[in-house]
């Protein structure tokens, strides 16, 4: 097996591209990221490691704008992310220049995924070590979308998804609790999913909300307030569960 993981262009006998799978490992070690699609809102949430006290946190934006109506969050190698995001931003403007129309979410996702795939089929290069969550509203139909890409270059649309550290737990939570939501409810659902795997608190989460008007980054105070609401709801649910038991 070890002989087939050196050059990316080599398949192993049982049909694996080991470099791609190792790239997925890198993603699994990256920080948790979640995306939830509502009817009029799409929310992206990313885990923030709060151990770096001397760092200026404003210089580490984990949720970025690709265009007025498209945002991206990722998990994995952040340096690779910078390169991919730069290429995507150029493509967004290039598309506007050549066809005088903003990109659709699907178009830019296909572009990014195509780029990731190219690096799994070239000599002397390694794949990008990141998975992305891309959100946006279609500029004409106004339909919200959430897409995910991964290092192999596959992409698909999701109602809600998670990637990075402990993404399986988050996805399980979302599968159990997902329902069509809008506005504040969508934000709460995304934060609840993130809180399953991240330490509670506004300084450990970065949340951005995409509406038809554009992308809005929530500040720490707002996130703390929503987290407090969620904890209160959780406590109330716990109390309600215990009360009937007492009666019998």
């Amino acid at each position: 097996m070890a002989r087939y993981d050196r050059a990316i262009t080599v398949f192993s006998p049982d049909g694996h591209l080991f470099q791609v799978e190792y790239a997925l490992e890198a993603v699994r070690k990256g920080n948790a990221a979640v995306g939830v699609r509502g009817t009029d809102t799409i929310v992206l949430g990313v885990e923030k490691k709060s151990t770096v006290k001397l760092q200026d946190s404003r210089s580490v934006r984990k949720i970025v704008s690709l265009d007025d109506h498209i945002a991206l969050a990722c998990a994995g190698l952040k340096a690779d992310a910078r390169v991919l995001i730069n290429r995507a931003r150029i493509e967004c403007q290039s598309h506007r220049l050549t066809v005088e129309d903003p990109v659709t979410v699907e178009y830019i996702t296909r572009y990014i995924a195509g780029l990731q795939q190219k690096y799994t089929q070239s000599g002397g290069v390694r794949p990008f070590g990141l998975s992305t969550l891309i959100v946006g509203f279609d500029p004409y139909t106004g339909v919200p979308s959430l897409y995910q890409t991964d290092p192999s270059g596959t992409f698909s649309a999701w109602k809600a998804n998670a990637t990075g550290r402990n993404s399986n737990s988050m996805r399980e939570f979302l599968e159990k609790n997902y329902k069509e939501t809008s506005g504040q409810e969508t934000i709460k659902l995304a934060i609840r999913a993130l809180l399953e795997v991240v330490e509670s608190g506004g300084k450990n989460i970065e949340v951005a909300v995409m509406t038809k008007e554009g992308l809005r980054q929530l500040d720490e105070a707002e996130i703390d307030a929503i987290v407090a609401e969620i904890e209160a709801e959780k406590a109330a649910a716990e109390a309600a569960k215990k009360a009937p038991a007492k009666e019998t």
């Binding site: 934006r61 704008s65 690709l66 265009d67 730069n86 931003r89 150029i90 967004c92 403007q93 290039s94 506007r96 220049l97």
Partner: protein, 198 residues
């Protein structure tokens, strides 16, 4: 016979352009908007070859937007002007863009500014600028009546005087003009001066 001119006032800058699209003796349309809103606080009035005008101004606009996404802050007017000059200069000795530009912008730190950029990549920061045959009349009027820190009304009066002079003295004068303004609230269309319907 295209004409673009502009001036700086107190806390704002004005750009005026004719709106004729002409091919030899035929007027294609007389409501062509030649002043592009580059970003929230920049206006770019362009005159010259129609194809080059569209190509160059759109190219600059997309690059200005890209800078903003990459860096999180918009370009200053000075930086945008220098970027344009650089692009014109690079293309000059291979495939020149035949476009003359009056760039007006408002920056929070430095206030309003106006730049004269011609097709051979001349760049001047100025208080008043004009291109085209109309410039002979517009510059003379502005030289006589312009003073620093004009109010919007004073500047519009001066712009109207320039337009009147162009209309009466230029042999094939453009019919309609568009006026756009940029100040701390942003860049926007101000008004039109029409002699013919669109």
């Amino acid at each position: 016979m295209e004409c673009v001119f502009g001036m700086v006032g107190k806390g704002f800058a004005l750009v005026v352009a004719d709106s004729s699209a002409v091919n030899s003796i035929l007027v294609h349309k007389s409501n062509e908007d030649k002043i592009m809103v580059l970003d929230s606080h920049k206006l770019m009035g362009a005159s010259g070859e129609a194809g080059d005008r569209a190509q160059f101004t759109e190219y600059v606009q997309k690059n200005v937007a890209l800078y903003q996404y990459r860096n999180g802050i918009p370009l200053t007017t000075k930086a945008a002007a220098n970027f344009m000059r650089g692009e014109l200069a690079t293309a000059l000795r291979k495939n020149p863009y035949m476009v003359n530009i009056v760039l007006a912008g408002y920056d929070r730190e430095t206030g309003p500014s106006l730049y004269f950029i011609d097709y051979i990549a001349t760049l001047h920061k100025v208080d008043k600028a004009a291109f085209g045959y109309g410039s002979y009349f517009a510059l003379s009027m502005m030289d006589h009546h312009y003073h620093p820190n004009m109010t919007v009304d004073e500047a519009l009066k001066l712009a109207d005087q320039c337009i009147d002079e162009i209309r009466s003295r230029l042999v094939v004068a453009p019919q309609n003009f568009v006026i756009k303004i940029v100040d701390q609230d942003g860049a926007r269309e101000h008004s039109w001066r029409r002699t013919t319907k669109d």
